[in-house]
């Protein structure tokens, strides 16, 4: 398993050229090779959604694909949103509505919701529930996550006007 393959991946706008084992999971590559620890790993079998990242703009579970499959593709992680000093409106809404507790599942939820809100700028509550249904949160009971997404949609659409 020691044969290494060269890959070239754009992550959060930065191009990374690395040599990796073909079996290296994309989640491990992002976390341990690139040191982007915001992407969390909760189950490694694609069920919990904590490791969700954007792969060419689509939400993808980074534990279910290999780093080599990402070569030539563009990835975005939670680090591409806001900073503690300047939160993204979605992050701001989660802060204001108490949409997180332990925060471990949160990056995956944010990266699921970013493209969802792009496609559904005025989502209904049911649409939000459906959108985050693949992300497990053990702490919140989801209600405040849904309120957060609703609040974010309002913030973001009013910002565009």
């Amino acid at each position: 398993m020691s044969q290494l393959f060269p890959i070239k991946v754009t992550v959060n706008g930065t191009v990374y050229e690395r040599e990796v084992e073909p079996r290296l999971l994309l989640s491990d590559f992002i976390r341990h090779d690139l040191g982007l620890f915001g992407t969390h790993v909760g189950c490694e079998h694609g069920m919990c959604g904590a490791c969700t990242i954007l792969f060419d703009g689509e939400p993808v579970r980074s534990c279910l694909i290999f780093a080599v499959q990402a070569t030539g593709h563009e990835i975005r992680t939670v680090e591409s949103l806001g900073s503690p000093e300047h939160l993204h409106p979605l992050q701001e809404a989660f802060h204001e509505k108490h949409g997180l507790q332990c925060g471990f599942c949160t990056p995956g939820i944010l990266m699921t919701v970013v493209p969802f809100l792009e496609q559904h700028p005025h989502p209904s509550e049911d649409e939000i529930r459906e959108a985050i249904d693949g992300n497990i949160c053990r702490c919140t009971g989801y209600e405040k996550i849904i309120e957060s997404v609703q609040a974010a949609s309002e913030k973001m659409s009013s910002g565009k006007q």
Binding site: L24, V78, G82, F94, L100, T106, R129, D133
Partner: protein, 782 residues
């Protein structure tokens, strides 16, 4: 009690780092030269170990070391127990079988570690596990709790005469005498199903031994940093100040992370010292299901004696409690069951017996609810049976028997997990239920909504239950509050935090006393280098126990500010007041000294300090309760059942709760909602299943169903009652586990009510569609 900060919906200080991916969790710790560990775990549930051949694994490129029990020499020692046996209870019998560091001679559950590989990467360590040849002679697995108790059962521990882990009987009043006076006696067998804690972050452990300073640093997602530090020091023969345990951000706890005697806790410090290399071990989800701890899993035989009018005369409960293969956490869970079976109704005669049994399953320790869920479940189910038998309304029989507020404090006569006799401190249980019935429109539902739905062919049912939550158990917690030279305040406590919002609520408590901004209070939790006394995070004791200690320390610092400022402002203490961030002369805000400057003055570098004055604007305080504070509540649920598919929809969910004084209403709601989602999960989705061979059938999120967003009710309607606890200055009671307690019994009652054409008799706490279908098939049609 609401103040400028205390009682306000202050937004969380910890959020911004978590939201931006900057918060550091245990798997984000990187130390140069760090090695990685992986465990080989037994596939057999019960087997005699013949041979573990690690020759090939040791040769595997990148592998640094492989250890089995044989390689540990004298370091292989079981235990000690994390929680002592309950010898405060007269006649209690307990067979201590703490966890071994790693299996030796025999494996006792599927998932028990049998070897550990240390390698340059986790991938290599896992590869090398595959190279290990494990030769074992399988034995029949002990799975069924009641059969395991019998003398003829196969033994989990060969040196014991039976599988009895413990036998504890407690009696308040005289049940048998009460039974003779009863008009009706009902009895029933119940199963409280087995569930997982399933925090989204698995367990993890990073250790670094610094040979030059002779100090060990451990980063762990533990709920019990100080017990972990003491346990490591004890095992390694180090004095406590040579071991520092740091809890980074923790991705949820829910109970199982309270363990300090799992294989990783025991082996990694020893191996790190031996190899003189830092080591990381991160549990994967499969290991979390197989090898960490889980809870519930009890079988109850209940009996209730009543008068015709529904008055309870007595309750008897003999229950089997699965402790798994070992019992490192003592009897915390079943004792909680005993104290919560009878806790909110007037039951003058109560007889309760725990039969704690060893099985070939993973170890059972608290999971949110922690034994209370089971007690509440069986009591509420028995109330439903009593109501049916006496043709009473389920709400009516409850209202009739709920304790009244003037009866508190009430000594229950039953000793709990804290080894003291239970006292219900305060509350108004009747008002909880009345408010809940009002919120759910109980009358209207019975008289209008339900009849109309039935006419339309819909199956709508309602469940109403009541509960208490024993919170804030001892022994104690402590904290140190210090004003810094920049005027900001630091707080350290040994308590650890897993997402509850302690960084914020603790800061609110301090800010209120010192009149500083909440964001100027920096809280450090669970770092033994900063505060080295404490018991850990469990039993809803953070805000109450650690919070009370923080409050006391803040009051002491406040007094010190007044005393010090009075000297520098040259006015009597009663002429000093706190302006934001400074001390000033009353009525003369221009005459002030900032808290930062005052902190410097309180720590002079030259000159004489009075003998009894301690340096700095700093104080340390502790809080120890005499017994727990009782949270209480009531819950109503309206469920729509599809009688074809047995799928359910929660139409309404109402919960009224009393946790005393509220520190932060926003975070309180979050705590309740989270607890409720776990309760709903336990009621309909989540179930740990072992087959007869002791194989875990539910070792992934594909088989162990976690509640998802679409499974939740549209809105959890939450009402509050506030009866401050008389036990602590702030009047607070805990709330962490409350939400998880009532859903299962409310759910059962609602389902029975919904499927009204059948005489359903639901006796299990977890009802997936298949279970529900079976119960309906067993039922007679009315």
């Amino acid at each position: 009690m609401a103040g400028k900060y205390f009682g306000q919906p202050v937004l969380r200080l910890e959020d911004k780092h978590l939201l931006t991916g900057r918060a550091k969790f245990v798997d984000d710790i990187v130390i140069p030269g760090m090695l990685h560990a992986a465990f080989l775990r037994s596939d057999y549930a019960h087997a005699i170990i013949k041979n573990i051949d690690v020759t090939e694994a040791r040769k595997h490129p990148g592998v640094v070391a492989v250890y089995t029990a044989e390689d540990l020499g004298d370091y292989w020692k079981v235990g000690p127990l994390q929680v002592p046996p309950p010898f405060a209870i007269k006649g209690a019998q307990f067979n201590a079988r703490p966890l071994p560091p790693i299996a030796k001679g025999k494996v006792r559950f599927s998932g028990e570690p049998i070897a550990i590989v240390i390698a340059e990467s986790r991938y290599i360590a896992e590869d090398a596990c595959e190279d290990i040849i494990f030769d074992a002679e399988p034995l029949p697995a002990v799975i069924d709790l009641e059969k395991a108790w019998e003398d003829t059962s196969v033994l989990v521990h060969d040196d014991l005469p039976s599988n009895m882990a413990a036998l504890v009987k407690q009696e308040a009043g005289d049940y048998e005498a009460a039974k003779k006076l009863a008009d009706v006696v009902i009895s029933k067998r119940f199963v409280a199903d087995h569930v997982a804690g399933a925090a989204m972050e698995n367990r993890g452990f990073v250790v670094n031994w610094d040979e030059r300073t002779q100090e060990m640093t451990v980063w762990s997602g533990t709920q019990a940093p100080l017990p972990l530090r003491s346990a490591i020091a004890g095992r390694m023969g180090l004095v406590e100040n040579q071991v520092r345990v740091i809890t980074p951000y923790i991705g949820g706890g829910f109970g199982p992370k309270v363990m300090t005697s799992q294989s990783d806790d025991v082996l990694l410090p020893w191996i790190a010292m031996k190899l003189n290399r830092p080591i990381k071990w991160i549990e994967d989800r499969r290991e979390n299901f197989l090898g960490t701890t889980s809870e519930r899993d009890q079988v109850h035989h209940c009996e209730m004696a009543l008068k015709k009018d529904g008055t309870i005369l007595g309750f008897k409960d003999v229950f089997y409690h699965n402790t798994g293969a070992y019992d490192p956490y003592g009897m915390t869970v079943p004792l909680n069951t005993q104290t919560h079976t009878v806790s909110n109704y007037r039951v003058p005669n109560f007889s309760t017996e725990i039969r704690m049994v060893f099985t070939n399953e993973m170890v059972v320790t608290p999971v949110r609810g922690a034994g209370r869920s089971e007690g509440v479940f069986v009591m509420e189910r028995m109330m439903d049976l009593a109501a049916k038998e006496l043709k009473m309304d389920p709400a009516e029989i409850r209202l009739k028997n709920l304790l009244k507020t003037e009866e508190f404090p009430l000594n229950t006569g039953v000793i709990g997990q804290d080894f003291v006799v239970g006292v219900l401190d305060s509350g108004d249980y009747k008002v909880n239920l009345e408010k809940c019935l009002e919120m759910v429109d109980y009358e209207k539902f019975r008289k209008e909504i339900q009849p109309k739905a039935r006419k339309e062919g819909k199956h709508l049912g309602i469940g109403v239950v009541a509960f208490t939550e024993g919170t804030a158990v001892g022994p104690y917690e402590g904290a140190r509050v210090t004003v810094g030279n920049n005027g900001k305040v630091s707080v350290s406590t040994g308590y650890s935090t897993q997402g509850q919002g302690h960084f914020t609520v603790f800061a609110q408590i301090v800010a209120e006393q010192l009149n500083v901004k909440v964001e100027d209070v920096r809280v450090i939790t669970g770092d033994t280098g900063h505060f080295h006394w404490g018991a850990g995070t469990f039993a809803s004791r953070g805000a109450t126990i650690a919070g009370s200690a923080i409050h006391s320390a803040s009051v002491m610092v406040r007094e010190k500010i007044f005393a010090t400022a009075s000297k520098f402002l040259e006015v009597p203490e009663d002429q000093v007041e706190l302006c934001e961030g400074s001390a000033c002369v009353k009525g003369h805000p221009e005459k002030f000294i900032s808290l930062g400057e005052l902190a410097g003055k309180a720590n002079p570098m030259r000159g004489a300090v009075e003998a009894d004055v301690k340096p700095g604007l700093e104080a340390t305080a502790y809080y120890a309760p005499p017994h727990c504070a009782t949270g209480s509540g009531a819950c109503a649920m309206i469920i729509d059942v599809d009688p074809e598919t047995m799928m359910i929809k929660i139409e309404r969910f109402v919960l009224v709760h009393d946790c005393g004084t509220v520190i932060n209403p926003l975070l309180l709601e979050g705590q309740i909602q989270g607890g409720v989602s776990m309760g709903i999960g336990n009621a309909f989705y989540e179930k740990i299943i072992y087959d007869d061979n002791g194989q875990l059938m539910t070792a992934s999120f594909m088989d162990y169903l976690m509640p998802q967003a679409t499974d939740m009710p549209k809105k959890m309607e939450i009402g509050h009652n506030v009866h401050p606890s008389p036990l602590n200055t702030l009047g607070i009671k805990g709330v962490g586990e409350a939400g998880a307690l009532p859903p299962s019994p409310a759910f059962c009652q609602a389902v029975e009510d919904a499927l009204y054409e059948y005489d359903l008799d639901i006796t299990e706490s977890n009802l997936n569609p298949c279970m529900l279908y079976e119960f309906r098939n067993k039922a007679t049609k009315r």
